[in-house]
């Protein structure tokens, strides 16, 4: 089968930093070619070269056998190459139809925009994507992430894309939506579209890909048919060393109850949640987005204080009305969104790590900079943060290293109860297993960890017990031994046919 797009010997540097070196890559009609590698391996740059955002410094790109050198994303689109970006580049205040035809609007004979036809075509495109429930006149900002993604795919198809590049399409989707997306991708493949699929999630790759190309440090490690690989082999290609265990939860002795919730409630989104978290335990909370998991964490941490029920720490009833009180009770919260709640991105590692403990680092209102720097250096060493030093600005770090800074910042408060919301979202395999190892070590030291995660393998692999939330309340509890993917998955979705509103 001939290649739709073929790259050979592609190299690219930014400011004298070589990010891609002599990369060859091709996509055939009707295949899913997975592109994997740790963050910083060069995947995004390669995608951007194919999508016309960057131009290669050296090497050749051929589309349908003809040399191509895209000067803009538009040029790539006219050749049938479309990118579905991870961050979904849509206009939230415009309608679905307007978004789909943005930049290539259909025109009526008199030169104006042909709205009836655009709406009709948009409808047909969405129907093809099994998305009959999306209204073409809906405001895109009001749609769920999964639906916005479909709009973006429809937008690619509206330009007759023959090569569809998908950059971590499932990074922010819940399990149910992931399955639907995978079936859409399979359907497109059957129609002969060539798909470049970038993902950190190995199960998806094994479920979907025909071939896999692994990048590491800007170089191609290899390309292989999926049948020749297993998970272990793929991971070791990605990180350049074998990883013994993906989810290294050690068995620990589970101690006394640290945190108890009794019929905790917040508005209508958290209802009658009762649970007990013990020392040394990792308690996993599974559930769909919108099931109240994050909201429960925010309520425990005092960001949205409880409107009903009780919180007990060490068996004593406490009232938590602000994050300050939670912190002083020994509770730490590693938030779901690093950028939004975790880090002050323009500040240095040192300044971020010390933010939760400014009071203890300061004397008479003045910060002891030497103590602060020592704390930062210890954190860098203890958490394996890859950085130039404590004064490096955090937004320059990779996602995994940023997450370690968030973790370091909260562990600086020496908490006994650690709430982690999506601890490894958007983090590459190597950093992920490091963070899991850290969690395991913390539990072994007697911390109680409440872990919220959308990744079922993570929940199952790391938790001593698994709780399932749905519609703001707990619906099931499993011991480690009984927690299988089927059982937990069923509890998450059962009697909840549409996980979220359109």
């Amino acid at each position: 089968m001939s290649a739709l797009i073929e790259l050979s010997g592609i190299s690219k540097s930014f400011a004298n930093v070589r990010v891609l070196q002599d990369i060859s890559f091709d996509v055939r009609a009707g295949e899913v070619h997975a592109l994997v590698g740790e963050n910083g391996a060069g995947k995004s740059t390669l995608i951007k070269i194919m999508g016309g955002v960057h131009r290669a410094d050296a090497g050749e790109m051929r589309v349908d056998g003809e040399a191509a050198n895209f000067t803009s994303p538009r040029a790539a689109a006219t050749k049938g190459i479309a990118v579905v970006h991870q961050e979904l580049l849509l206009f939230p205040d415009l309608s679905v139809a307007e978004n789909i035809f943005m930049g290539h609007a259909l025109r009526a004979k008199w030169g104006g925009l042909d709205w009836p036809q655009m709406r009709e075509r948009a409808r047909a495109l969405l129907d093809r994507l099994q998305s009959q429930h999306i209204d073409v006149d809906a405001r895109v900002g009001a749609l769920s992430v999964a639906n916005r993604q479909r709009v973006e795919i429809a937008r690619a198809l509206s330009q007759d894309a023959r090569v569809l590049i998908m950059d971590e399409p499932t990074a922010s989707l819940v399990e149910e939506d992931v399955q639907q997306l995978l079936s859409i991708v399979r359907m497109l493949r059957e129609k002969g579209v060539g798909i470049v699929y970038v993902s950190h999630k190995l199960p998806e790759i094994f479920a979907l890909a025909d071939r896999v190309t692994v990048l590491r440090d800007g170089a191609r490690v290899g390309t292989a048919a999926i049948g020749e690989l297993d998970e272990r082999k793929l991971v070791s290609m990605m990180v350049g060393r074998p990883i013994d265990q993906l989810f290294p939860k050690r068995d620990t002795s589970i101690g006394a109850p640290l945190l108890e919730l009794r019929k905790l409630g917040f508005g209508g989104v958290v209802r009658d949640v009762s649970l007990t978290l013990r020392a040394g335990e990792i308690l996993g909370i599974a559930g769909l987005i919108g099931s109240g998991r994050t909201e429960t964490a925010l309520t425990i941490f005092g960001i949205t204080p409880a409107t009903s029920g009780e919180i007990l720490v060490d068996g004593k009833a406490v009232s938590i009305h602000s994050p300050q009180q939670a912190r002083d009770l020994g509770i730490a919260y590693v938030p779901e969104d690093r950028g939004l709640q975790g880090l002050v991105r323009p500040q240095s590692i040192q300044e971020n790590v010390s933010l939760t403990v400014l009071k203890t680092l300061a004397k008479g209102g003045l910060i002891d900079h030497r103590k602060e720097e020592r704390l930062a250096r210890e954190s860098i060493a203890k958490f394996g943060i890859r950085a130039r030093g404590p004064r490096q600005i955090v937004k320059q770090l990779s996602g995994g290293n940023q997450q370690k800074v968030v973790l370091a910042k909260w562990l600086a408060t020496e908490p006994r109860i650690l709430i982690m919301d999506e601890p490894t979202r958007g983090i590459d395999v190597g950093a992920k297993s490091e963070i899991h190892a850290l969690m395991s070590a913390l539990a072994a030291r007697g911390l109680g960890i409440l872990m919220i995660s959308s990744e079922l393998p993570e929940v199952l692999g790391m938790s001593d017990r698994v709780l399932v939330m749905k519609n703001g309340t707990l619906v099931a509890e499993f011991d480690r031994a009984d927690a299988t993917a089927e059982a937990v998955g069923a509890a998450m979705t059962l009697a909840n046919a549409s996980g979220e509103a359109a």
Partner: protein
Amino acid sequence: MAVAGTLNHRRSGLSRLFEAYGQEFVVLGAIVALFVIVGAVNPRFLGDNNLINIFSGNAYIAVAAIGMSLVIITGHIDVSVGSLIGVLATIAGTLAVQGYPVWVAWTVPVLVGVAINTFVGALVAYARIPSIVVTLGMLSILKGGLISVTGGTWITDMPPEFFIAQKRLFGIPAPVYFMVILTMLMAFWMHYASLGRAIYAVGGNPEAARASGLYPERVCVLAFAMHGFFAGIAALLFATQLQVIQSTVPPNLELTVITASVIGGVSILGGTGTVIGSTLAAILFACISSALVFLNVSAYWLRAVLGLLILATVLADMTRRRRHRAAGRL
């Protein structure tokens, strides 16, 4: 990318200093360049009298820019500071003329400045009205109120001991001391005090600051209140430098103050910048406006030159950041 290899990467202290204070160095370099060039064309530019005039006559802008920088770093803006300074200067002059003790004429305007801006800060923080809206409102209220109450008359015949800005110590006028000491104090405070750190954190990411146990609303009110204090001091320097106070608002003063902060390296998005930068930038403006006189260029060009300067420095800053970002990815 090869991350591990950079772990032990050591760089000279100078390059670290430049990365952290790049914009300040750019502005300082511009001032030095200006002295060299204009001094070569017209040596009288470098005369003692002229330099003292430059520093002393514009110190109030630098002082106001300290407060403005605090507000902008916190993630807000104040477009009413010019009107506030006009009002406070008028209050100072009126009190002095009416025979109140001079310390009253000096303190009351500062306290009024703090009170007004605490109120503004509270509206921004707790009523959640965007600061540009609140301060646009204040701009009209203060400006209109001032003209209505005073009818635009000039205030004269203040007692001689009132003119604090005309006092000298070791031959150097008092405003220079105010500018230098307040800048150094605030630079120290911003760097070493936990409240100073809180201002950067809240400006950089209020939600992360809240989750870390800080109180973004209180920090916002604090920044505005301090800004009111500096506006009060600026008003005193402004009111006492000449024998008369024109009880109107100095035209475009708020823009000059905001420009000083921005050129000094304070990000309009909040979270970064220093007061040393804004003071240097205020000095730079003063030098430019004086240089235009010495180069026989119409003073009307000043605003155009300032505009160009804003664009040029911001461009330089962006380029510098981009280079660092590329290097930082290593």
